[in-house]
């Protein structure tokens, strides 16, 4: 090989190497000088998992990420708008209770709380319907059709958990998405039974934006797992961490507006859900069954 050819090969090799290094340093979402998951952190997590009789059955996000608080306001839909969406043209009976408004239209009922939380239910017995098992895909389609029909479908809606209740019933959760991350506090949860939607619960926040100036690096997912296990007692039977995902979560507040921090959502055995604050590592909720 002559020198000229050797130079060509070396130039190509270093070019590729530099592109990889530059990506590591400058790619969006990666802070050049930010911390990823260190091998020590992963080792600590593995030891903690073993001590607490847990197993990691999900991939661990490794990319270091930056995030910030998002500012939200309570859901905007008023009882009048919801009445129009759910029962347009129907004969509706309205009951004003101390803590909520109840709208009744035949077999359907809509409970609306002042904070913007509402729950729709179809009360008729659906057991007499078509006796064909429902699959998850069909259930999702039915849920999406229902949302579209009621004018409640949002472009920033993202499919979350699909929980099979029995062979003819599914519970599907849709989350609001902001900058490609789910807001776990802002959701629509729909129960599809046989050929129709029998229940829907909604708490859909108005997102005002993200505090860019407070953007900073979040703790690694491994650290979040360690923090959770530090709070939990060791389990007698082995349990699995089935999902870890970065999103946003806070409690519901009776407030004008509030900020929601980024969290690592950790799901244990597909049923217990924990939210670990992705800035400071404290647990934002007691376990929530979903």
């Amino acid at each position: 090989m002559n020198i000229s050819k050797a130079k060509n090969v070396l130039i190509l090799a270093f070019l590729v190497l530099n592109i990889i290094l530059a990506y590591q340093l400058l790619a969006p979402g990666l802070s050049g000088l930010s911390a990823g998951v260190t091998p020590e952190e992963v080792q600590r997590m593995e030891e903690k998992l073993e001590d607490n009789n847990f197993e990691l059955a999900s991939s661990l996000p490794h990319r270091p990420q930056n995030s910030s608080f998002i500012t939200v306001k309570p859901p905007a839909r008023t009882p009048a708008k919801l009445k129009e969406a759910f029962f347009a043209g129907e004969d509706v009976h309205t009951i004003n209770l101390e803590d909520k408004t109840v709208l009744e239209a035949g077999e359907q009922e809509l409970n609306i709380w002042p904070g913007g939380h509402y729950r729709y239910s179809y009360q008729n017995d659906v057991s007499g319907g078509e006796d064909v098992p429902l699959d998850a895909g069909e259930a999702v389609s039915k849920a999406e059709e229902f949302l579209a029909e009621k004018g409640l479908f949002h472009n920033n809606m993202r499919k979350g958990q699909i929980h099979r209740v029995d062979e003819k019933t599914y519970k599907i959760t849709f989350y609001q998405e902001f900058m490609e991350s789910p807001i776990f506090t802002s959701y629509k949860r729909i129960v599809v039974s046989r050929d129709r939607v029998t229940e829907m619960e909604s708490y859909w926040l108005q997102v005002k934006g993200m505090e860019e100036r407070r953007k900073m690096e979040v703790i690694p997912a491994a650290t979040a797992v360690i923090r959770l296990l530090e709070e939990k007692s060791p389990e007698a039977e082995q349990r699995e961490i089935t999902d870890i995902e970065l999103g946003f979560f806070s409690q519901e507040y009776d407030a004008e507006k509030w900020e929601i921090p980024p969290v690592w959502r950790i799901i244990v055995s597909d049923e217990e859900v924990y939210y670990v604050n992705a800035f400071i590592g404290n647990i934002e909720n007691d376990d929530i069954q979903e």
């Binding site: 020198i3 000229s4 130079k7 060509n8 070396l10 130039i11 270093f14 070019l15 190497l17 530099n18 290094l21 530059a22 590591q24 340093l25 050049g32 000088l33 930010s34 911390a35 990823g36 260190t38 020590e40 952190e41 608080f69 407070r214 900073m216 690096e217 703790i219 690694p220 650290t223 806070s250 507040y253 009776d254 407030a255 004008e256 507006k257 509030w258 900020e259 929601i260 921090p261 604050n277 800035f279 400071i280 404290n282 934002e284």
Partner: protein
């Protein structure tokens, strides 16, 4: 043979690529500190002001000057004469009293003291270099006797007497002598007709109680209560101005990194900041909570607890002029490691001798060995604006109404025959104060004169005009009604 121009360019490009790859490799390798070392969580701590000197933390609860038989002039915080006398006396407590000057109690003059200074909470005397004064660590009372020499008597857990050069107290003596002709109100001890040594018969209170055998009720006065002999002057109301709160600095002081505290805005304008472990609420008052720190022991010494309370107040908002430490106590009996308990300290503003009271008018901290876990700070301090002056006189009806109210509210306890204490009540204090009731606008609140009656650890307020009673802690309901 000279290289071709293209080859030269390749060489330069290769060198540049090698160098940039070295630089970037260095940045990737060494520029990524482990997570624990990154400066994402911590920031420089901030505090509002240095803690006060120990001698400045506690001032007398009251200064008493006997003027006529059984009658006394009583001076309280934010009265000119109180401040003058305290300024004269304070150096005495900062200096080491000499053991040589100590005398026996039998050497004190037989006449009553000419000046009495009462401390509640007790004054923490510096005893590090004077071990024989250990019993005086918590000074509760200081008496001056002006005879041929000046004698003082200090009372804490133990008592000590000193004979001091008369010349040291000439000004103080003159000040005290002036009270003979002063037009300041006179006070005398509350006494009820007693049918035995301990319990007071309260027949003359003429109680209107809807209970069987009201005459069975007994009242025990557990400490000296001085009440005005004649009318005293207060204002119809006093205005309180909102403190200019430096919120950004406060957030910096409270949170490890205030950028990590999220903000919640309630419909009434209340702001809440929380990082999930600590919360700061800013509304008509300031409230800080850190529930995870609760449930520990409180093993501080008395001195240590005062210093801790002093630091908390100064660090988190500052100790404004006119705010006095009014109470500090360990709430429960377990001041031992492993137990559960806490210190509770309370500060009040005073206006010309009368405290500003009420849930939202006082400042309070609760802390244990883990640290501060509750802090409520009143944001309203007395200003210059007041209503008209009004005359208020003591009347036994104040006590009757308070007692009736207390018994009515505790009727179930009263009729429980197993509970013997229900028939004998401890009367702890009666005094006049301004009660913060109205929030006129965002920056202005108003306080009205009330009688404060403390029975069995409960605090009852009665407005001075109609003597309508209401509990401390139920003031919001009272205000709304």
């Amino acid at each position: 043979m000279a290289p071709l121009p293209g080859e030269k360019l390749k060489t330069i490009l290769l060198v540049v690529l090698v160098l940039t790859s070295l630089v970037m490799t260095y940045l990737v390798w060494y520029g990524m500190p482990p997570y624990e070392e990154t400066e994402v969580v911590f920031q420089e701590s901030f505090f509002f002001e240095e803690p006060k000197e120990k001698v400045e933390t506690i001032k007398p609860e009251q200064i008493l000057i006997p003027v006529e038989e059984e009658q006394k002039v009583i001076l309280n915080q934010q009265q000119e004469k109180y401040e003058q006398i305290w300024t004269e006396i304070k150096p005495l407590l900062e200096e080491n009293l000499s053991e040589e000057e100590q005398v026996g109690s039998d050497q004190l003059p037989e006449d009553d003291a000419c000046l009495m200074v009462e401390f509640d909470p007790p004054f923490p005397i510096e005893i590090e270099h004077i071990p024989y004064l250990a019993g005086l660590n918590q000074l509760m009372r200081l008496e001056f006797y002006f005879a041929s020499e000046t004698f003082i008597r200090l009372e804490g857990e133990e008592e000590f007497q000193y004979e001091l050069p008369e010349d040291d107290f000439v000004e103080l003596q003159e000040m005290v002598a002036d009270f003979e002709d002063s037009d300041l109100p006179r006070y005398e001890l509350l006494e009820l007709e007693a049918d035995n040594d301990e319990n007071e018969d309260i027949e003359d209170l003429d109680l209107d109680l809807d209970i069987e055998d009201p005459e069975e009720i007994e009242l025990e006065i557990i400490q000296d209560i001085y009440l005005p002999v004649e009318e005293v002057e207060m204002y119809n109301y006093i205005d309180l101005m909102r403190e200019d709160l430096a919120l950004e600095e406060l957030l910096q002081a409270v949170f490890v990194n205030h950028k990590l505290a999220r903000q919640i805005e309630e419909p009434d304008g209340t702001l809440i900041f929380t990082d999930g472990e600590k919360g700061l609420r800013v509304s008509k008052y300031l409230e800080y909570t850190a529930p995870k720190l609760e449930g520990s022991a409180a093993t501080h010494s008395y001195d240590g607890a005062i210093q801790e309370a002093n630091e908390f107040l100064c660090y988190y908002g500052g100790w404004p002029d006119g705010l006095y430490l009014d109470a500090i106590s360990r709430t429960d009996e377990t001041g031992i490691p492993g137990g559960e308990g806490y210190f509770n300290a309370r500060w009040r503003y005073y206006h010309q001798g009368y405290p500003v009271v009420g849930n939202l008018g006082e400042t309070e901290v609760k802390f244990n060995d883990r640290g501060l876990y509750f802090y409520q700070r009143t944001l309203f301090a007395p200003g210059d604006s007041t209503g008209e002056k009004k005359n208020i006189s003591w009347n036994k009806k104040v006590l009757s109404r308070a007692l009736e109210f207390y018994v009515e509210q505790n009727i179930e306890e009263y009729i429980n025959e197993d509970n013997e204490s229900a028939e004998s009540f401890h009367l702890e204090d009666i005094y006049l104060a301004y009660h913060l009731e109205d929030f006129i606008e965002n920056n202005l609140a108003r306080a009205y004169p009330v009688w404060v009656v403390e029975i069995e650890g409960e605090v009852i307020y009665l407005d001075v005009s109609e003597l309508n009673p209401f509990w401390r802690g139920e003031e919001d309901e009272y205000i709304e009604s």
